[in-house]
C-alpha cells in the first residue's frame, strides 16, 4: 500500500508528472490482417444465386458440376474445353453483379497462376500445352465458383447427402459453414483488441498471432460442440436423411439430357466412339 504523507492528500506517486510518450508503432500488420478477414467475411455473406425457373435442383446441379469438372480435366481435345467454356460464360452473364465479379476475378487469377506455373513450357517451345492448362483451369474455376455462388449452403449439404457422401463428412462441412462467419468475427474482435492494447513499439507482434489463432481454435471447438449438442437435443442421430418426397423436376431431366449430350460429345472427341 502506498504511504500517505498526510490524511486527505494524494499519494506522492500520483502527484508526479508523467513524461511517458509511447513511441510510434506501425500497425500495418494488424490492419492488413483485419482488412483481409473483413473482406473474406463480406464474401462469405454474399448471396449470389437467385434461383430461376430454368435452374436445376441442388443435387442435379452438383452432379452436373462434378461431371463437367471431371470431363474437362480428362479431356485431351481442346475443343471440348471450349464447348464447356461457352456454357460457363453464358451462365456467368446471368449472375448478379457481385457474384459475376467474384467469378471473373477468381477464375482469371487461377488461370493466370496456371499460366505462370506453365511458363517454362512456353519458353521451351510448347505454348499450346501451357494455354491448354490455363484454359482448363479457367473453365474448372468458373464451374466451381458458379456452382458455389448459385447454391445456398443448406441445399449444398442436402445435395451432397443425395449423392451418397458419408454423414461425418457432411456434418463437418455443415458445422464449418455454419460457424465460419462467427469465427471470422471472433478473429476480427481479437485483432481489434490487440490493436487497442498494443501501446508503444512492439517488436514481436507475430507472437500475438499465436494467441489469436488459439482463441479462434478454442472458440471453434466450443461453437462446434455447442451446435452439435443442440442438434442432438433436437433429435439429431448423426445421419442426414433426405426427405423421400424429393423427385427430380422436369427441368432436371432436361439438364440431365444435356449432360448426356455433353458426355456423347466428349466420347466422340476423345475418339471413344466412331463418328
Amino acid at each position: 500500500m502506498p504511504k500517505l504523507e498526510k490524511q486527505g492528500q494524494l499519494p506522492s506517486w500520483l502527484t508526479q508528472e508523467e513524461h511517458y510518450q509511447p513511441t510510434n508503432d506501425r500497425d500495418g500488420f494488424i490492419a492488413r490482417s483485419a482488412l483481409s478477414i473483413s473482406s473474406a467475411l463480406a464474401r462469405l455473406r454474399l448471396d449470389g444465386g437467385a434461383e430461376t425457373p430454368l435452374s436445376p435442383s441442388a443435387p442435379v446441379k452438383l452432379l452436373l458440376a462434378l461431371a463437367c469438372l471431371l470431363l474437362v480435366s480428362l479431356a485431351r481435345n481442346y475443343l471440348f474445353v471450349l464447348i464447356v467454356l461457352a456454357g460457363v460464360l453464358v451462365r456467368a452473364c446471368l449472375l448478379p453483379r457481385a457474384a459475376l465479379l467474384r467469378v471473373v476475378t477468381t477464375s482469371l487469377s487461377a488461370a493466370l497462376l496456371a499460366l505462370v506455373i506453365m511458363l517454362p513450357a512456353i519458353l521451351l517451345g510448347q505454348p499450346h500445352s501451357a494455354l491448354g492448362i490455363a484454359g482448363k483451369t479457367l473453365t474448372c474455376s468458373g464451374i466451381a465458383m458458379e456452382t458455389a455462388l448459385s447454391t445456398p449452403p443448406a441445399e449444398l449439404t442436402g445435395a451432397l447427402r443425395k449423392l451418397g457422401m458419408p454423414n461425418v463428412l457432411i456434418m463437418t462441412l455443415d458445422l464449418t459453414l455454419k460457424s465460419i462467419v462467427r469465427l471470422g468475427e471472433v478473429a476480427l474482435e481479437a485483432l481489434s483488441a490487440l490493436r487497442l492494447r498494443s501501446v508503444g513499439r512492439n517488436q514481436h507482434k507475430d507472437l500475438s498471432m499465436g494467441g489469436i489463432g488459439g482463441v479462434v481454435l478454442l472458440k471453434a471447438a466450443e461453437a462446434a460442440q455447442q451446435t452439435h449438442d443442440a442438434m442432438r437435443c433436437r433429435g439429431f442421430t448423426g445421419s442426414y436423411d433426405m426427405p423421400h418426397s424429393w423427385r427430380p423436376r422436369a427441368i432436371d431431366l432436361v439438364w440431365l439430357c444435356l449432360l448426356a449430350v455433353l458426355l456423347a460429345i466428349f466420347c466422340y472427341l476423345q475418339g471413344l466412339i466412331a463418328p
Binding site: N77, L79, L82, L85, A86, L89, C93, R97, A98, V104
Partner: protein
C-alpha cells in the same frame, strides 16, 4: 471491312492507332459523364448486336462478301461516344479471339468502323430527324444515316488500302503491302457497299431499332429507368435468335474484299508483296470463327455464343468496377 494483318504498312498502323488514342480517351470521359452507371451493362448487349451483325456475311457484286456493323444503331441508342467504345471492344474481341481483323491494324479498323461510322451516322441521323418527325421519321432517318455511314467507313478503308502501293513499293515498283491502288480499291469497296452492304446495314439498324422501341423502350439513354425483367427477356430473346441465325452468314462463300489469304493474293497479282511475306501474324484461339473439327455452322454458333458472352461480361464487369457517381437531383 476488317483490314487483316500486314495489308497496311507498320507506319500506317502506327498513325491510325495514334489518331485513335485521343478519341478513345475522350470517349471514355464522355461515357463516364453521359451514361448512367446502371446503364453501362447495356453497352455489352449493344456490343453483342454489333458483333453478331458483323458475323452475317452477305454476298456482294464481284464475288466478295460484306457485312453490317450497327455502329449507327448504337450511336442512336447510347450516343456516338458510347458507340466508339462499344464497336472498339467488339472489334478487339473479334481480333484477339477470332482473328477477324489484324492486331496491328486494330487502330485502322477502329478508325473506320468505331469512329467514322458512328460519328457520320449520328450526325446525319440528328440532322435528318429535325426534318422527319414522328416514329416513322425516326426510322427513315436511321435507315438513311446508317446506309451513308457504312459507305463512309468503307470509303475510309478503301483509301487506307489504296494509298499503300503509292507510298510503299520496291525498286521494281512492286507493292510491299496492299497491292491495289486507289483506282481499284475505292470502286471495288464502294460498289459492294453502295449496292448491297449499305442496305443490309440499314435493314439491321431499322429492324433492331423498331424492335427495341416497341418491346424495350428503356434500352438506351432516352428513358432513365433501368430495363425491367420483361425488357431483359425481350433483348436476350433477340440475341438468341440472332445467334441461332448467324450460320446464314456462311451461305456467302468467298472472302471480303481486301481480306484474302496471302496465297490467294499472290495468285491474283502475280507476286507476293515483300512486306506481307513473313509478316507478323497473331494466332487467334478460334480463327475465322471455326472450331477445330466441328461442322462450320456449329463452330460459327459456338463462336457467336463465346463472343456475345465475353462482350456482355466485359461491360458488366466494367460497370461493376466503375466508381459510383452520387446524384444530387
Amino acid at each position: 471491312m476488317h483490314i487483316p494483318e500486314n495489308y497496311l504498312s507498320p507506319s500506317t498502323c502506327a498513325i491510325t492507332t495514334a489518331a485513335m488514342l485521343p478519341v478513345w480517351g475522350c470517349a471514355i470521359k464522355r461515357v463516364r459523364e453521359d451514361v448512367p452507371q446502371e446503364k453501362l451493362p447495356l453497352l455489352g448487349v449493344a456490343a453483342a448486336f454489333c458483333f453478331l451483325s458483323m458475323m452475317f456475311n452477305i454476298p456482294l457484286p464481284g464475288g466478295t462478301t460484306g457485312h453490317a456493323v450497327c455502329g449507327t444503331l448504337v450511336a442512336i441508342l447510347f450516343g456516338p461516344w458510347a458507340a466508339v467504345i462499344v464497336v472498339s471492344v467488339a472489334l478487339a474481341v473479334q481480333a484477339f479471339f477470332f482473328g477477324d481483323g489484324g492486331i496491328l491494324a486494330f487502330g485502322a479498323n477502329c478508325l473506320n468502323m468505331a469512329f467514322i461510322l458512328p460519328m457520320v451516322g449520328y450526325s446525319l441521323y440528328t440532322l435528318l430527324k429535325r426534318h422527319l418527325k414522328g416514329e416513322r421519321g425516326e426510322l427513315v432517318s436511321a435507315a438513311i444515316a446508317s446506309y451513308l455511314a457504312l459507305n463512309a467507313a468503307a470509303l475510309a478503308a478503301a483509301l487506307e488500302f489504296g494509298i499503300q502501293p503509292a507510298l510503299f513499293h520496291d525498286a521494281a515498283g512492286n507493292a510491299l503491302y496492299c497491292p491495289y491502288p486507289l483506282s481499284v480499291s475505292v470502286p471495288a469497296m464502294l460498289l459492294g457497299h453502295l449496292t448491297v452492304a449499305g442496305f443490309a446495314e440499314a435493314g439491321f439498324t431499322v429492324g433492331i431499332l423498331a424492335f427495341l422501341r416497341s418491346t424495350a423502350p428503356s434500352f438506351g439513354l432516352t428513358e432513365k429507368n433501368e430495363p425491367s425483367g420483361k425488357t431483359s427477356v425481350a433483348i436476350f430473346s433477340l440475341l438468341a435468335v440472332l445467334i441461332a441465325a448467324c450460320p446464314l452468314g456462311l451461305l456467302a462463300t468467298g472472302d471480303a474484299w481486301g481480306e484474302w489469304g496471302l496465297e490467294d493474293l499472290s495468285v491474283q497479282v502475280g507476286y507476293t508483296p515483300a512486306g506481307m511475306d513473313g509478316g507478323w501474324e497473331w494466332s487467334a484461339l478460334l480463327p475465322d470463327y471455326a472450331v477445330g473439327s466441328l461442322p462450320a455452322w456449329l463452330g460459327y454458333v459456338l463462336s457467336a455464343v463465346i463472343g456475345v458472352s465475353l462482350l456482355v461480361i466485359i461491360f458488366r464487369v466494367a460497370g461493376a468496377l466503375a466508381k459510383p457517381r452520387p446524384s444530387f437531383d
